[in-house]
């Protein structure tokens, strides 16, 4: 079992390494580089050459990649091109804000979605199931910003219950922060809950079509007992994967939602970096997001090994 888990973790680390190569290479294989992107097309070749030298772009790509990678491991992403500030120093409070928002949404969404998903599976075809199906389909179809602006329009402009901009600062007291961030967090919750609910429902239902479940029914057990004692322990693995996958989805949803509510998080930071063509910032944020994604997926793998004894023996 320890070996299987170790293998999963090593695989996760390898993926992370591959991801870092890809993030670096994606900006290398394209024609043009940071220097031409920042200076624009009107710049003379001499200015571009000087700027390239200043940024160290005239050295081979693999040297710059290794420098970047080892810098990143030590927690040093270099300096932003636009304002020459230390990227890690600018990024860490924003990262905290984003984690706060995502965690807030996750704490509400996970129990809600798993509970409702199981309920919908138990009541398959009944009105609870149908209502959950229609509402979650609608929520999936909505772009994140539609929900966001709808909330702002109703709850801050018309009713005046919540602030329309989620402005937070470091010295803010905790209750105040919870209140200010409530609307973006609820938006994210709705979006993620819809996905998670549908996937939880279908993974419980796929277990329900197994022969041993039919056997349990034929023995005359009640539906509730079959689900809680026979189906759920086996559905736990898939459900954990679903939860992790959707928490990873939360990371992406955060980018748009932060932009809607002008929330000072890492998603906004990245989008700003893209519009200003600040490549070191974009790469750093990209790596942080991708790392969170890989870590969540690896965690899901490890947890599903822990809950399902059949996966403990390496095949």
């Amino acid at each position: 079992m320890g070996r299987t888990i170790a293998i999963r973790i090593v695989l996760g680390l390898l993926t992370l390494l591959g991801v870092s190569v890809l993030i670096f290479a994606a900006t290398e294989i394209l024609p043009g580089d940071v220097a031409t992107a920042v200076l624009g097309q009107g710049a003379t070749p001499e200015t571009v050459a000087v700027f390239r030298h200043e940024l160290g772009l005239d050295r081979p790509a693999y040297v710059r990649y290794l420098e970047w990678l080892f810098g990143a491991i030590r927690g040093d992403f270099g300096f932003a091109l636009t304002n020459k500030r230390d990227i890690v120093k600018t990024m860490s409070p924003k990262l905290f804000n984003t984690l706060f928002l995502a965690g807030y949404a996750a704490i509400i969404a996970v129990p809600l979605a798993v509970g409702l998903g199981i309920l919908a599976a138990i009541k398959e075809g009944k009105w609870v199931d149908r209502a959950a199906n229609i509402v979650s389909l609608a929520a999936i179809s909505m772009p994140e910003f539609f929900l966001g602006y709808l909330f702002i329009f109703i709850f801050s402009v018309k009713l005046g219950w919540f602030p329309s901009l989620a402005t937070v600062f470091n010295s803010m007291p905790f209750e105040k922060r919870i209140y200010t961030v409530a609307m973006p967090a609820v938006c994210l919750t709705l979006l993620v809950t819809a996905h998670m609910l549908r996937m939880t429902r279908s993974s419980v239902l796929s277990i329900m079509s197994q022969p041993y479940i039919e056997m349990a029914f034929l023995k005359g057990l009640s539906r509730a007992r079959v689900i809680f004692v026979h189906a759920l322990p086996n559905a736990a693995g898939p459900i954990i994967t679903v939860v992790a996958l959707n928490l990873a989805y939360l990371i992406v949803g955060v980018v748009v939602i932060e932009s809607v509510f002008v929330y000072p998080g890492i998603g906004q930071f990245m989008v700003d970096g893209v519009t200003k063509r600040d490549l070191p910032v974009v790469q750093a944020c990209g790596l942080v997001f991708a790392a969170a994604f890989v870590i969540l997926n690896t965690l899901a793998d490890v947890l599903s090994v822990l809950v399902n004894p059949r996966l403990r023996k390496p095949r």
């Binding site: 993926t15 991801v19 993030i23 394209l30 910003f145 748009v256 519009t275 063509r277 991708a290």
Partner: protein, 286 residues
């Protein structure tokens, strides 16, 4: 009424009606829209409230919002459609190549896709667009870049599915028979595998369309997709966001159009799915 020999359910009809209406809107935009797409109207203030002549009101520089929503159907739906077709072409060709091309090709393509899938698509697109965006300054040029970038990223998902589907077909007897009578690889792909792999891919096409549609809208909303003055639903939401502060629902119209279109396509896809059971390896959610 029957479509392809199947009777649509009520929800499927709703979906067909919504999607049909949007397509008519997109095709006949110049005849339907009361005002031109990108002309500031005389004597109209920014964010003019809805009135009898302008049902949705005006946008931030006094253009008719309803007309822009109608024209926006062209841009947003058109781009998403082109992207999905391109992504399917790339994905299916690569997927079939991985199946018939031997173990080495399969391993290289599959591992590359694995790594690409472990970066969230939006994040990946942002990284690429941060450099690519500056290369093309013309509107058409930036559209081509946008379509190409999203199609390549999205084709990783199509690759997974088409590979899984083709894997099940390639072991069947008729493929073996074709190989034994000495047909070439390309012939086998085109005449034996492709016709049998396509039916399960149809519903996937609808799902990928929804995904790309929302993806284009999100990128435009972030200011990195379709560039002004083209009317585009995602970008219009951003442009008009400040109107909310004046108590006007201006950004909600294009956003609602996006939501409605996605719901319509999803309803149709749900119906197609209920006709033929889904192949394994397909993912509706991501």
């Amino acid at each position: 009424m029957r479509i392809f020999g199947h009777k649509p359910t009520v929800t499927a009809w709703v979906g067909i009606f919504i999607v049909g209406a949007f397509i008519i809107m997109a095709v006949f935009a110049p005849w339907i829209a009361p005002y031109p797409e990108d002309v500031t109207l005389e004597g109209i203030a920014s964010y003019a409230p809805p009135s009898a002549t302008m049902w949705f009101g005006a946008d931030q520089i006094g253009r008719d919002l309803l007309s822009r929503v109608i024209y926006g159907a062209r841009t947003t739906i058109g781009i998403a459609f082109l992207t999905t077709i391109l992504s399917f072409t790339i994905g299916i060709v690569m997927g079939l190549w991985a199946v018939v091309g031997g173990k080495v090709v399969d391993q290289i393509l599959s591992r590359l896709v694995d790594v690409m899938l472990s970066i969230p698509l939006l994040i990946f697109a942002l990284i690429i667009l941060s450099l690519f965006g500056s290369l093309f300054t013309s509107v058409i040029g930036s559209l081509v870049v946008l379509i190409f970038v999203i199609a390549v990223l999205d084709s990783t998902r199509v690759f997974r599915l088409s590979r899984a589907v083709a894997m099940n077909i390639v072991v069947l007897e008729y493929v073996e028979a074709a190989r034994l009578r000495g047909e070439g690889t390309w012939w086998i792909i085109r005449r034996e595998i492709l016709p049998n792999a396509l039916p399960p891919m149809i519903s996937e096409f609808g799902l990928r369309f929804c995904f790309n549609f929302l993806f284009v809208a999100a990128l435009s909303f972030l200011g990195l997709g379709v560039q002004p003055p083209l009317a585009d639903w995602g970008g219009m939401v951003k442009e008009n966001a400040r109107a909310l502060g004046f108590g006007l629902p201006a950004p909600l119209w294009p956003a609602a159009a996006i939501a409605l279109m996605t719901i319509g396509v999803n309803l149709i896809v749900d119906w197609i799915l209920s006709i033929n059971a889904r192949p394994s390896g397909a993912s509706a959610e991501m």
